[in-house]
Structures are given as structure tokens and as C-alpha cells.
């Protein structure tokens, strides 16, 4: 079920109304049933995978907590890791490994090949597996006690607003909220609805509109050069942001109406002044997941001479895995690897850059330095996103080489300037970025809420109908649904 579908428009109000009408003690049961229904709308069989993860991790977490020896704890954690990552590997990475090995065998002209299966990737598997896995690791580390109630745990894993594409909230944040459901609140309803409408605006007005242009260029990279390609790669970064941040807003808004607070997943990443800053603002729930459960878990040497090189190595490995998390393709591996390498370079050169600034008398917090940092960060991120968007390595390289070809500059410019849809999308994008900037400083929502009711309603109703009228009719799935 898509958030931007008619089904969800019916589903959400029905769930909200029923949820608050029924007795409190039945609410978790109802929400659990609704969440499974939401997930199984995509494919009924997917529910089994969700149930499997839930049952394994709930049982394993108990065994870990009760285990008397570290060895036993590790054994049970291994069961959880094998079950979850095995499922992920089977559905998502099996063909990737088979095809890669077959390619190697072919390259060395060796006999034999591994079979390639036609497996449909269950939606949201990367998200709910990581959510469930974080719980067992937390129990193993002694950060939290195991959840006694299977129903609440099952609801934590399957909670519909965040089931398909996150945020990957931790159990320590969600489970206490599930145990103590809040009563209906008008303030939460209104604030949740505002968040949903804002999310829909980002998705259907900006992301889908920019997507029309971006998809055309990336579908035929051999046919476009120079400015067209550069603009498409730049706009893809913003399309991805609006698409995913829009999804997250709808998810958070839906949960808020029901009385639950989900974590913020995006914090204006496009104003980041460095790559580190960017990854602290972009898909925060995934970045922190990898930080806590991969980067911190990787072995490092406690020797001052090698500690940094080991840390850098770990950083690259973490980002490489984060890239692979997005998709089973070498393109995603390169995307992650490049980000890791760029981050390491940024860290290594930090002292030298600061020394240079001090010598030239430019303040580290000056507008010039911030702007330069922002531009460089965006260029690097946009460059790595070429690998994220393109279908394969050849296409990525073609796009990169074509972006330096300015032989058709005037034709490209003419096409861009005559594409009303694209120009409107860029204007809307600029409006959104300005609105986010103002909101950061003045709390735009509160500013509007403090106005007279007639003005307030005019703004709300005007905005809602603006979204409905300028809705892009060619419905596109959320980009992160494929992961």
C-alpha cells in the first residue's frame, strides 16, 4: 500500500478512528492486525517473513538475557544474525553474488556457473530486518531487557507507518510508547495532518515532478550530454531528498496522530557544510544504525600508531556496507565506498584546512567558508549519487563522461528553458528549501498557527488544494521502496 494512494487515504482514517474508539487494552492488538494487513496488501506471503523475524528475535532475545555464559549469549546472537541476515541475503543478495561469481568465472574462461533465481524482493525487508536486529544486539549488549510481551514486540517490528521505509527506530524509543499508548489529542491530530500534507507536497509536487526530467535523462544516458546531464544529476539528489523526506514526514505524521513519536530522519541535509555533517543529517536512522552496530562493532587496534588508519579502514568498510544495504549491485557498493573514502579524506585534511584558514585569517564559521563547504559537500554527494541512480557501472561512467561534453550546450539549454514542468519543479524546490530555512529559525508552523483563524484556514485550505491541483498524475513509487 502506497502512502500516496487512495487505499491509504481510506486506510489511515479507518485505523485512527477505530484505534481510539476501542478499549485501550485492545489497541495494540488492533494496531498489530492493521500493520500486518498494511504489509500483506503488497503480497500476502510477505507476512510470513515478518512473522519469522519477529518470532526468532523475540525468542533469541530471551535466551540471550537468560544465558549464563558469554559463549551462550554469542551463540544465540549468532542465531539471530544468521536468521535475519540470511533472509536478507537470500531475498536480496543471492543473485548479486551468483551473477558476480558467474562474471568472474566467465572472465577467467572457467567452466560452470551458479544459478540465478527470479526472486521478488519483499518490500521493506531491509528496514524491518535491521529494526529487529538492533533489538537483539541491544539485548546482547545489555542496553535493554528483553520484551516480555510478544504482541508488543511484534507490533514494534511491524508498526505500519515505519514498516516499508523506516525510520529504523530503536526498540528503546518505540516499545515504551507502545506500552503506554496516549489518548487522542487534537493537537497531535492537527500536527500529524500538517506533517502528512507537507510530506505529500514534497513527494507529489517536487520529487515526482523532478523525476520526470531525471528519469528521462537516466533512461537514455547515451542521448544526453553536458548541461542536461549535469542538471539531471543535481536534481536527482534533490528528488531523492524530497521523495524520502516526504515519505518520512507522512510516516511520522501518521504515527503522531496515533500518539507515537518517530525519530527525525532528515535534518536539512542540503545545507550540510561537510560530508560528516551531511551524513549526520541524511537518513539519520540508518546512519546511526551503522555507526552503532557496524562501525563500533568492527575490531580496531589499540595502538596509537595504527589506530587512525584502522579507524579509517573501518569507516570505509561501514560506508561500503551501507551502500550495499541500499541494493544488490556493484553500483551501490561504489556509492558507499566513495562516500567512505571522501569522509576519510575530509577527516585527514581537516587540520590542514583549518591551518590554511587560520593563516589566511578567514573565520571557520564565516559565510564564505560555510558556503564553500556546502558547495563542495553537495558536489561530492551528487557525484556519488550518479552510481546510486544509474542502472549499472557502464551507465554511470557514460553519464560522468557525457557531463563533460558541452557540444550541444544551446540545444540542452533550449530544452531546459522550454520544459515548463521542470521549471515549475525547480521553483517549488526552491520554495520548499526557503520554507525549511525559515522554519528552522522562526518555526513556520507556529507562526501560521498564531494568526487569525480566517488567515490560518485560508493558508491551510489554499495549500491543500494547491497540492491537489498541481499533483503529478503519473504516480511514482517512493524510491526507497525498492530497498
Amino acid at each position: 500500500m502506497l502512502f500516496n494512494s487512495l487505499e491509504y487515504v481510506i486506510f489511515l482514517p479507518v485505523v485512527v478512528v477505530t484505534y481510539f474508539i476501542i478499549p485501550v487494552k485492545w489497541r495494540w492488538t488492533f494496531l498489530l492486525v492493521a500493520s500486518y494487513f498494511f504489509y500483506m496488501c503488497n503480497k500476502v506471503e510477505y507476512g510470513i517473513l515478518l512473522l519469522f523475524t519477529t518470532l526468532v528475535d523475540w525468542f533469541v532475545a530471551f535466551q540471550i538475557a537468560q544465558a549464563s555464559t558469554l559463549k551462550r549469549k554469542k551463540a544465540f546472537l549468532a542465531i539471530s544474525l544468521i536468521a535475519n541476515l540470511g533472509m536478507l541475503a537470500g531475498f536480496k543478495y543471492l543473485n548479486f553474488f551468483s551473477e558476480s561469481i558467474n562474471f568472474l568465472l566467465d572472465s577467467f574462461q572457467m567452466q560452470g556457473s551458479l544459478p540465478v533465481f527470479r526472486i521478488l524482493l519483499p518490500v521493506g525487508i531491509s528496514f524491518f530486518v535491521f529494526k529487529s536486529l538492533s533489538y537483539t544486539i541491544d539485548v546482547y549488549r545489555g542496553i535493554r531487557a528483553p520484551e516480555k510481551h510478544l504482541g508488543y514486540y511484534a507490533l514494534y517490528v511491524s508498526f505500519f507507518p515505519q514498516l516499508i521505509a523506516g525510520p529504523i527506530d530503536r526498540s528503546s524509543s518505540i516499545l515504551p510508547q507502545l506500552h503506554h499508548p496516549r489518548d487522542f489529542s487534537t493537537a497531535r491530530l492537527i500536527s500529524g495532518l500538517k506533517l502528512i500534507v507537507w510530506g505529500i507536497f514534497k513527494k507529489v509536487i517536487i520529487a515526482d515532478r523532478l523525476g520526470l526530467y531525471v528519469d528521462e535523462i537516466f533512461a537514455h544516458p547515451e542521448a544526453y550530454t553536458g548541461l542536461s546531464v549535469i542538471l539531471a544529476t543535481v536534481l536527482f539528489a534533490f528528488q531523492l531528498y524530497c521523495d524520502f523526506a516526504g515519505y518520512t514526514d507522512i510516516a511520522r505524521g501518521s504515527a503522531r496522530i496515533l500518539g507515537y513519536d518517530l525519530m527525525i530522519n532528515f535534518n536539512r541535509p542540503m545545507v550540510a557544510k561537510s560530508l560528516r555533517d551531511f551524513w549526520n543529517r541524511w537518513h539519520i536512522s540508518l546512519t546511526t544504525w551503522f555507526r552503532d552496530y557496524v562501525l563500533y562493532a568492527l575490531p580496531y587496534v589499540r595502538n596509537k600508531k595504527v589506530i587512525f588508519s584502522r579507524l579509517y579502514f573501518n569507516l570505509i568498510i561501514t560506508y561500503l556496507l551501507m551502500g550495499l544495504w541500499h541494493g544488490a549491485d556493484w553500483n551501490f557498493v561504489i556509492f558507499g565506498f566513495l562516500n567512505g573514502v571522501f569522509l576519510v579524506i575530509e577527516t585527514i585534511t581537516e587540520k590542514k584546512r583549518n591551518w590554511f584558514l587560520d593563516r589566511t585569517g578567514i573565520s571557520r564559521h564565516s559565510i564564505l567558508n560555510n558556503l564553500l563547504g556546502n558547495v563542495v559537500t553537495l558536489i561530492l554527494i551528487i557525484f556519488t549519487l550518479i552510481f546510486f541512480k544509474a542502472d549499472n557501472l557502464e551507465e554511470s561512467l557514460l553519464i560522468i563522461s557525457n557531463s563533460f561534453d558541452f557540444s550541444n550546450l544551446y540545444a540542452s539549454l533550449w530544452k531546459i528553458l522550454h520544459d515548463n514542468e521542470l521549471l515549475f519543479g525547480i521553483v517549488m524546490l526552491a520554495t520548499m528549501l526557503v520554507a525549511e530555512h525559515i522554519h528552522e529559525k522562526h518555526d513556520l508552523v507556529r507562526l501560521i498557527a498564531s494568526r487569525h483563524i480566517i488567515i490560518r484556514w485560508l493558508v491551510y485550505i489554499g495549500f491543500i488544494f494547491f497540492v491537489i491541483i498541481f499533483w503529478v498524475q503519473q504516480k511514482q513509487e517512493f524510491i526507497y521502496f525498492q530497498f
Binding site: F465, I468, W471, Q473
Partner: protein, 323 residues
């Protein structure tokens, strides 16, 4: 929740519903496309005499009804076989009209997934299409969004139509429509386009898909049209409208054209009412001046093409009479 909050909430909802109602009604009344389509509907209902030829299709279909006697051109922009089926069903079941021949536009793009999933002007099509049946056949509940749009929120996502309606409202009143035929008022000359191949490439890639050359739902509705004609004993002729040479070359790069038409013939031949395919796709291969873009004839091209068609139909008529 206080009583005041409930009242405010209900009031807000009421305002929303009222604004939606006004916008929906205004769009239905003032939309350019609705106005044109309704004019065609009215002309069809008022049609006097024997209707020898009924033509269906999309904007490629430019059969001039001034030239082809006793005919009605009921094609409309972006119309696909699904819409054509429901319109034909309505014509045959609800109106008294019984055309002798159906000339059904069957271009390469008529069978592709792009046009199969393109449902525009739903506030007009809501009168014809059974969206629930369509959702069942397509196995896609998203079609119901179109029903909702057509029924209650006709303006949703139709900003281009709104813009057209505002700027061209007056012009629409003066548009000449005769037996459904409306000459294309686009005065560009494709021959003057310095980059014809590139323009053709763009257009072909926009409306054709390399993955599927015959959409399953289109195949179903193509057969349904034939079944309907079989039931009412209406002779069916498929027609391939002239395309520019550049466009046809690009089509062939994307779609296995011969394979597609072999399949089309195979389906059509199952029905005795199927007559033949009239293939004019290369009629003006060397005449880009008869097109205003890669795949649309201009007024002159449409007239010349219709004259060819009339000649061929007359020959076919006399041949069948001789038999």
C-alpha cells in the same frame, strides 16, 4: 476533545468539501477537453442518416469527415483501446446508432503500456468506463484513483487543462467540429525542424516501451472490441495512420513491429467481422511537410490521407459488390 474543537473540525471539513465541490463543478463545466468531447457526444447523438464508418482512436486519428462521407470520427486525444471499448459499448447499447464499419486506429503505440496506463480527462470518461471492472481486469487498484478523480475531484492533477481552459476558452467556442472531426490547429511544419530524427527519437521513447510491445490489458480490450463488433455484426477495419519516416525508424528500434502486427492479425482473425488492416504508416514517408510533429499529420496531410483512404474504401466497396 472539546465541543468547540469538534465544531471547528466539522466546519473545516465542510469548507474543504465545499471548495472541492466548487472546483470539481467548475472544472467539469469549463475544461476545454470536456467541452470538445461533449460537443462530439452531442454531434454523435444528433447524427442523421446511415453511419457507414465510425472511426475510433487518439490524436493520430485525423480522418476528415468532410471528405469521408457518412462517417463519424469519434477519436479523442490520448484515447486507448480500453476507453474506445467502453465508448463503443455505450454507443451500441445506449444510443440507436449502428455504424456499418468500425475503423479502429491500430498504430504501434496503440498497443503499448504507455497508452494503456494513460487515463486522462476522467471527468469525461467517467460516463463511459466501468472503472471497477477495469481495475479487476488490469489487476490494479490504482485505476480506482481515476474513478475518484473523475467522480469527485476532476481538477486533481489537471493543472495543464486548467491553464488551457483559462487561455483558450474563447477559442474553443469558435472551434469547428464536424461529425467529430476537429482539424489540428498546430501550424508547425515538421519539414522545417532542423533535428527531425532527434525529435522523433524523443517522441518515440516517450510513448513506446522496449520491454512490452503489447500491454496485456490492451490485448484484452482489443479482443473485447472485436467481440462487441461480432455481437452487433459491425465490420472491423484496423488502420495504421501515416507517420513521419523518422518516427517510424525510431519505432522499429524500440518495438518489434512485424511481430506485433503478426500477433494483432492473429487475434483479429479469430473474429469473422474482422476485415483487414489498412496500412498507411509509410504513405508520407518522404513528405515531412505533411506533419506538424513526428507522429501527427497537419491539416493538409490529414486531407490528403483521407482522400487516399476514401479512394481505397471505394475500391474495396466496388470489389465486394462485384463479388
Amino acid at each position: 476533545m472539546t465541543q468547540k474543537t469538534i465544531i471547528r473540525f466539522l466546519l473545516f471539513l465542510t469548507v474543504m468539501v465545499a471548495v472541492n465541490f466548487i472546483l470539481d463543478r467548475a472544472f467539469k463545466a469549463f475544461s476545454v477537453h470536456n467541452a470538445i468531447n461533449k460537443t462530439m457526444d452531442r454531434q454523435f447523438e444528433e447524427y442523421q442518416g446511415t453511419m457507414k464508418y465510425l472511426t475510433l482512436g487518439n490524436s493520430h486519428n485525423c480522418i476528415n469527415t468532410y471528405i469521408l462521407d457518412s462517417s463519424f470520427n469519434y477519436g479523442s486525444p490520448s484515447e486507448n483501446f480500453i476507453q474506445s471499448y467502453y465508448k463503443l459499448k455505450h454507443v451500441l447499447e445506449e444510443t440507436g446508432q449502428r455504424p456499418r464499419n468500425l475503423i479502429l486506429q491500430a498504430d504501434v503505440s496503440s498497443f503499448g503500456p504507455m497508452i494503456a496506463n494513460r487515463f486522462e480527462y476522467n471527468s469525461y470518461w467517467i460516463h463511459y468506463i466501468d472503472y471497477f471492472e477495469l481495475a479487476r481486469i488490469k489487476g490494479n487498484r490504482d485505476v480506482l484513483d481515476k474513478w475518484l478523480e473523475g467522480k469527485f475531484m476532476s481538477y486533481a492533477g489537471n493543472y495543464k487543462d486548467i491553464q488551457l481552459s483559462i487561455f483558450y476558452r474563447i477559442k474553443v467556442k469558435t472551434l469547428e467540429i464536424y461529425n467529430g472531426y476537429r482539424p489540428h490547429r498546430d501550424y508547425r511544419n515538421f519539414a522545417n525542424n532542423p533535428n527531425r530524427q532527434r525529435t522523433a527519437w524523443n517522441k518515440a521513447n516517450l510513448i513506446l516501451s522496449p520491454d512490452i510491445y503489447m500491454d496485456p490489458s490492451i490485448a484484452v480490450y482489443f479482443e473485447k472490441i472485436l467481440q462487441l463488433c461480432q455481437k452487433y455484426r459491425i465490420n472491423v477495419m484496423l488502420i495504421r495512420i501515416p507517420m513521419s519516416k523518422e518516427f517510424y525508424e525510431e519505432e522499429c528500434k524500440i518495438v518489434p513491429v512485424d511481430k506485433l502486427y503478426a500477433e494483432v492479425e492473429e487475434i483479429a482473425c479469430r473474429y469473422p467481422v474482422y476485415d483487414r488492416i489498412l496500412d498507411y504508416h509509410d504513405l508520407f514517408s518522404d513528405h515531412p511537410e505533411y506533419f506538424f510533429d513526428p507522429d501527427h499529420l497537419n491539416i493538409k496531410g490529414a486531407d490528403l490521407f483521407t482522400e487516399h483512404l476514401v479512394k481505397d474504401l471505394e475500391q474495396m466497396d466496388s470489389a465486394s459488390r462485384a463479388e
